[in-house]
């Protein structure tokens, strides 16, 4: 049973077909969201919202062969909303601090603090958390391309389709994203031995 068949069944009123779709996609979507927003609890909430939205609007999807791209689009939009909410929360805290200190806190200082915290990560911290934090330091537009390519095996053309961005821009973001990640890991003193693989 492929996705298209399940979608047809669901549109005909078979809800269990939708559950099969959920079981098939919940793991990749959860991991996509987790890597995008970097918080496992929030990732679960966003994933639920994602599938609820899919449940409500699957009937409107005309080209069933584009289901996976459409699903990732929904997940990505929800992740963006979630990150915006987070950003607003951070700013409001900064503003309170501004009033207390009487000085404007520069966003760069906040980022620098984050990097320092990350630098305190030592070898005992597991690889997943390390890479998660590294991913969160790079720009969102590069992060999403890396996640889609590296962890979901999407072709560059598919990523361009989902993000509605020119193909070469996607490849360029991938390049700069990987480069930025390499620099972050190097700055944190993470070398190949720490990662435990052989070249």
């Amino acid at each position: 049973m492929n996705d298209e068949y399940l979608i047809q069944e669901f549109n005909a009123g078979n809800v269990s077909a939708f559950n099969t779709l959920v079981w098939r996609w919940e793991k990749p979507i959860y991991n996509f969201i987790l890597r995008y927003i970097g918080d496992s609890e929030q990732a679960k909430d966003v994933m639920q919202h994602c599938f609820i939205r899919v449940f409500k609007s699957l009937g409107k999807l005309k080209d069933h062969s584009r289901f996976s791209s459409w699903l990732y689009q929904i997940a990505m939009n929800l992740c963006r909303d979630e990150l915006k909410k987070k950003k607003h929360q951070t700013y409001s805290i900064s503003e309170v601090r501004d009033f207390d200190d009487g000085n404007k806190t520069d966003q760069k200082i906040v980022l620098a603090d984050k990097e320092q915290d990350a630098a305190k990560l030592t070898h005992h911290e597991n690889l997943a958390e390390l890479l998660q934090k590294a991913l969160m330091t790079i720009p969102e537009e590069q992060r999403v391309v890396i996640i889609m390519k590296q962890y979901h095996g999407m072709k560059f053309t598919e990523i361009a389709d989902v993000l509605k961005t020119p193909l070469n821009t996607i490849k360029s973001r991938m390049y700069y994203g990987l480069d930025a990640l390499h620099n972050v890991l190097q700055r944190w003193g993470v070398d190949r031995e720490d990662l435990g693989y052989e070249m």
Binding site: G13, V22, A128, L131, K171, M174, L185
Partner: protein, 221 residues
């Protein structure tokens, strides 16, 4: 081509999306450019690092259940999947049905059920005056008189019967009451007679005792 132009080819090569021709072009450049070679090697290392991060299970039980069936919602949902001619047909049929419903006349009289419908509103259904002759009118009037007379007769007969029955009932009740009253009077007279007899007997006994006492007194003297 400048070094920057090879970056896109590096991405294609890293993920095996590069064509044979482009691969040769890139390899040739990498052989001649140490900076790009180092960069490409760095990118390979980074992608291998990223591969170490495996997917995790969400541990969330997401199960959707069907909502209570709404036939109207189902109808409108199915409507979207119908072809245009079918949709138009249904629309026309719905309009005709609505028109006919608005112009439907239902009558129930004397146990008779009459149903009449049309697409458009009809005028008044009274027969034209020109079609009714004077004879017809006279006949109808005569029939009406007869009907009224029959009804009045029936009514009078029924009243008579009801009145007679009522009188019978009244007479019976009166007779019953009279008998009950006579019985009560008779009982009362019997009780008075009995009481009087008792009292007379008691008086006789008292007088007898008194006479005996007087006689005894006289004898003693």
């Amino acid at each position: 081509m400048k070094c920057n132009d090879y970056r896109l080819l590096m991405m294609d090569a890293l993920y095996d999306e590069i064509s044979g021709v482009d691969k040769k072009t890139l390899d040739t450049h990498l052989e001649s450019c140490p900076d790009c070679r180092v960069k490409y090697h760095t990118l390979q290392t980074t992608t291998q690092t990223l591969k170490k991060w495996e997917d995790v299970e969400p541990h969330v039980n997401l199960t959707f259940v069907s909502q209570p069936a709404s036939r109207i919602a189902d109808f409108f949902r199915n409507l979207k999947s119908w072809k245009l001619p079918v949709r138009l047909g249904v629309a026309v049929a719905s309009v005709l049905l609505l028109l006919s419903l608005f112009n439907t006349k239902i009558q129930v009289a004397d146990g008779q059920f009459a149903f009449e419908t049309s697409l458009f509103s009809r005028g008044s259904q009274t027969p034209s005056a020109e079609l009714v002759t004077q004879t017809d009118l006279d006949n109808m009037r005569q029939e009406n008189y007869q009907m009224v007379a029959t009804i009045l007769d029936e009514y009078a007969k029924r009243n008579k019967i009801e009145t007679a029955v009522l009188f019978d009932k009244f007479y019976d009740e009166l007779e019953k009451q009279r008998r009950t009253d006579l019985q009560l009077v008779s009982n009362a007279v019997e009780q008075v007679q009995y009481g009087t007899t008792q009292r007379l007997q008691r008086t006789d006994r008292t007088l007898g005792t008194l006479i005996e006492y007087v006689n005894m007194q006289n004898q003693g003297r």
